[in-house]
Symmetry: D2
Subunit: 342 residues, 4 copies
Amino acid sequence: MGKKIAILGASGYTGAELVRLIATHPGMEIAALSADRKAGMEMAAVFPHLRHLTLPTLTTIEAIDFSAIDLVFAALPHGLSQALVRDLPKTVKVVDLGADFRLRDPAAYEKWYGAPHVAVDLQKEAVYGLTEFYRDDIRTARLVAGTGCNAATVQFALRPLIEAGLIDLDDIICDLKNGISGAGRSLKENMLFTERQTDVLGYSQGGKHRHLGEFDQEFSLIAGRKVEIMFTPHLVPMSRGILASCYVRGDATAIHAALAARYADEPFLNVLPFGQAPGTGAVAGSNFCQIGVIGDRKPGRALVVAALDNLNKGSSGQAVQNANLMLGLDETAGLMLAPVFP
Amino acid sequence: MGKKIAILGASGYTGAELVRLIATHPGMEIAALSADRKAGMEMAAVFPHLRHLTLPTLTTIEAIDFSAIDLVFAALPHGLSQALVRDLPKTVKVVDLGADFRLRDPAAYEKWYGAPHVAVDLQKEAVYGLTEFYRDDIRTARLVAGTGCNAATVQFALRPLIEAGLIDLDDIICDLKNGISGAGRSLKENMLFTERQTDVLGYSQGGKHRHLGEFDQEFSLIAGRKVEIMFTPHLVPMSRGILASCYVRGDATAIHAALAARYADEPFLNVLPFGQAPGTGAVAGSNFCQIGVIGDRKPGRALVVAALDNLNKGSSGQAVQNANLMLGLDETAGLMLAPVFP
Amino acid sequence: MGKKIAILGASGYTGAELVRLIATHPGMEIAALSADRKAGMEMAAVFPHLRHLTLPTLTTIEAIDFSAIDLVFAALPHGLSQALVRDLPKTVKVVDLGADFRLRDPAAYEKWYGAPHVAVDLQKEAVYGLTEFYRDDIRTARLVAGTGCNAATVQFALRPLIEAGLIDLDDIICDLKNGISGAGRSLKENMLFTERQTDVLGYSQGGKHRHLGEFDQEFSLIAGRKVEIMFTPHLVPMSRGILASCYVRGDATAIHAALAARYADEPFLNVLPFGQAPGTGAVAGSNFCQIGVIGDRKPGRALVVAALDNLNKGSSGQAVQNANLMLGLDETAGLMLAPVFP
Amino acid sequence: MGKKIAILGASGYTGAELVRLIATHPGMEIAALSADRKAGMEMAAVFPHLRHLTLPTLTTIEAIDFSAIDLVFAALPHGLSQALVRDLPKTVKVVDLGADFRLRDPAAYEKWYGAPHVAVDLQKEAVYGLTEFYRDDIRTARLVAGTGCNAATVQFALRPLIEAGLIDLDDIICDLKNGISGAGRSLKENMLFTERQTDVLGYSQGGKHRHLGEFDQEFSLIAGRKVEIMFTPHLVPMSRGILASCYVRGDATAIHAALAARYADEPFLNVLPFGQAPGTGAVAGSNFCQIGVIGDRKPGRALVVAALDNLNKGSSGQAVQNANLMLGLDETAGLMLAPVFP
């Protein structure tokens, strides 16, 4: 018998991805699924690709008996998790895929999300869910805050470099190309197929994207000083994937060596040979992240490229990886599915 | 230790899909990979999405020691398997994903493929690999001929109806919408991204497509008379998936009941509630096939729709399913991966 | 000075396509644009691709002075044109791109659209806007009803054949592949990019699609008896285009000859050499329709394929073509723009 | 009667785009089309979307009588134009869409293209075809060298800023997102639909892309010192379009003001309001380029974004614009076609 899992917000893309991953996970079983506006529906009606599975009917959060649940994945719109987690029985472990617990500082939360946090104690308790860098804390955590998908991608590219002092902290430019599923399943005119199919378009440019709150927090923490990167995401016409092109000042060879050494034993982080860079197609549908380093013709300049699947390693895969640690399971359980190409 | 597997033609899409499936298969391990023109290369260079796996270097077929192999998947261009399989040690089981052994009749083979068969004995020995209809024969076969991807899709929709005499055999029209990966990885101008991205285009119309040889063989066999369907495939701008819209004369309710009854215990074939039809997105990346039946406003007319992933259930997934049977493994081993959506 | 044009519903795709066409039209100029929910906005904000044009600010319908308008294009949601056109000054010519005036029979309208028509007199007055078949009536009409985009495509393929008695009227099956822009710009979950990008899916199957009302009306009229076709549209992952695959009983050579003869002098309808069929990429962005005929291996069976751009020849291009006639301009004025490929 | 035009290399995408544009150009007519490997074919067979046009049969270059030609568009693979142009009658004007005459310095040519130039005199004579910056020279030129499509995009974003000394010349990072048609119609495995549909991938990173030769030449010339930018293109799954995200150091407000002032009278270059950035969908199919400027939260940092259609403004549209000047026609003739969206 596997660990009993509840997924809150199961009618969104990260919810569906959780169900997909748990479907072949050897140590978890889905005990409850909630989706407030679609409560009463079967998952097969909401996500026809999950028809082959025997799943609980969608319900409301209130209808779930959390005493029978080992771990909750909260895949809710930003802002809804705070009160919810506060009111859950303390025996239940929680992986929150939203943004509510990513920032430890109440002021930073209010700055980026526009409202005060309603569960400041939990905000402090929550462990930041970037597994490869917070593994030990996650293992014993009750509440883990999944990272932003962009935040994960860029941190995989840059954290070891900042830790090792290999790059100029005042000149980091990260240009991201993002699959459309990152926008979720909510209805927006600019997310219609016809709007996106032939368009590449930046958004939240100029330092407005909320994931900057995470970058500022994490990079400043490990650098021991304030670090502010430039970060621009772009919508590209594909469903899944993030490609982060990070332009830095530093020695490309040393940068590559540092990343290769740091991730040598990581099961999900693959550093390519020096001079090669990955594409998103190489990781789609999987929990893997590929990273490459390229030296520029201009000495002292390097390009660090990271590719991952925003719904998987950037969100639901990361969540399962963290849950595996929290539940005492093998960290890679259920997550070794190979990427799907073409 | 799993069964030792060799994949011939591993640098094509069905080869890569076999590797993907076997990567998490509990009872198989990859012992050899061939790709004549890319011999000497690593799979990670040919298919970057397989970089996380430890795989044998690509080699030539001649360099493989087949005495150490339990089963061969031959994912070769049409026409190359005949001599190859003839010359393999008889102890090796073979699943051929190409067209060489799909037709039992040498005359039919020559008619559709334009040259005489060079291994007529094997042609007769080979079992047609439509698992759900040839399961017992496959279990004991040494050589199984994987079906055409279109052929599988349409047969799942129509075989039980022909067997039960529920539809007019002289008025079957099958209109298919096909993902581009069905054309393989070979270089053709009309398969460039720019040629296909904004185009929907039929091909091999009018009764020229080679998969008609399979339809003629199988449908005539089970009907006990000559059956010739109309069959038109269309290229649509997606990588994976086949949607078969089959227009038939017959009672829609009875048709639905027959399909639902026939497939009730099949792990990979799902019949939707009456009046619903599937899309390809509901099966992409998986070994599942979804089937729906819709009655028309014109009495006595029905639409039977089947959706599957051409690279998976239509080819490599079917091949693994057959290999499972041939090797005494659980038929579903390694194949319960959920579809990937979005 | 060109004719003064008002476009009602300019914030939708057919509205934008009208603006695009009129932008280089030598005999029309845009005098008013309405979009109720976006009134007050500039078109450049609603459609950035029209930024280079000097256009009137979007307004409400009520704010338009129709006395200064020569012709109105009504690109409104179904049901809104009836009362609107009824209340316009009788001096204004109208091309309605919606469905309100396509059906002449009030009972048929109510059957297919679920409510009684509120302007039955106008319903009778309106000329059906299939230019190539109603050209003379359109020239003198005050109110022209644009056809459904599917209805146009299939009628181009089949009308001459029904007129000439070349095909079996009881066995016509039309399978359509449709670009997503046909669904318009309104917000629906199943029209999000992520929902459609990897999916092919039928809809309104079994005789439920409203365009059947047009087929029934037109085909029965020209046949002199009741004709009911089978018609199934499918969403495919592209923005523009309709490919209609029409399966008929008849002599393929005679069918091809009839179409070639009928359309020999039509500037926008191109019949391909016998045995060739078009793709949607060959007409995207244009007012052209390509038609092909292929004989089947089964004697007496033929496939007639028609391809057009739903937003252009299927809607806004047709509308401009009709308006040209109504305004005494050259029928092809502004419409000879070549298709855009790739 | 229009000017007589010959297009060499008419079977490629830029050749087809030239035909499309000239099809509705009031002052040009196509007198000859060459395509060596497809000589003898009709354009309708090579490009079905041009079927409605009456065009010369494709021929070899040798078969063209250049004495009857006013202007040649050479859309040939890199390296083929040099000898060709050298041997043409001096009465014929030439717009070369390839790379052969973009670099004035023979050493620079050899560095970036790997072989010595065979027509050094012509190399010096050729005028660089960035119309908005070389307009007067182009008007009187016999030979104009079309720019690289990436080179055009980035120069529109940056030239006025370098001219005005508004940005730090040592810290210019340009990250481009490129439609696949930029790779042309030649057969490459990595340009197949299935390879590109779900992938975003950088290429020629690190200072290897040949368009850097143009940037170095032009930016150093106008700066009066050596300028080397960082430039990284990325393949994204769309057919047309380039989005250049240029990260610069400078005052964003001043940058916007300089661009707006410089392009105020340019018919094809549109500067958006400060703080807005364009997408490629806003210019696809047209000769327009949209440019936006966004200030970053980091003071002194700005993002300049330019979007154009690589086949049109980036290549064939630019070529027609230059030809208009060379032939004494209105500069915008034939080029005011609105972008096609969706």
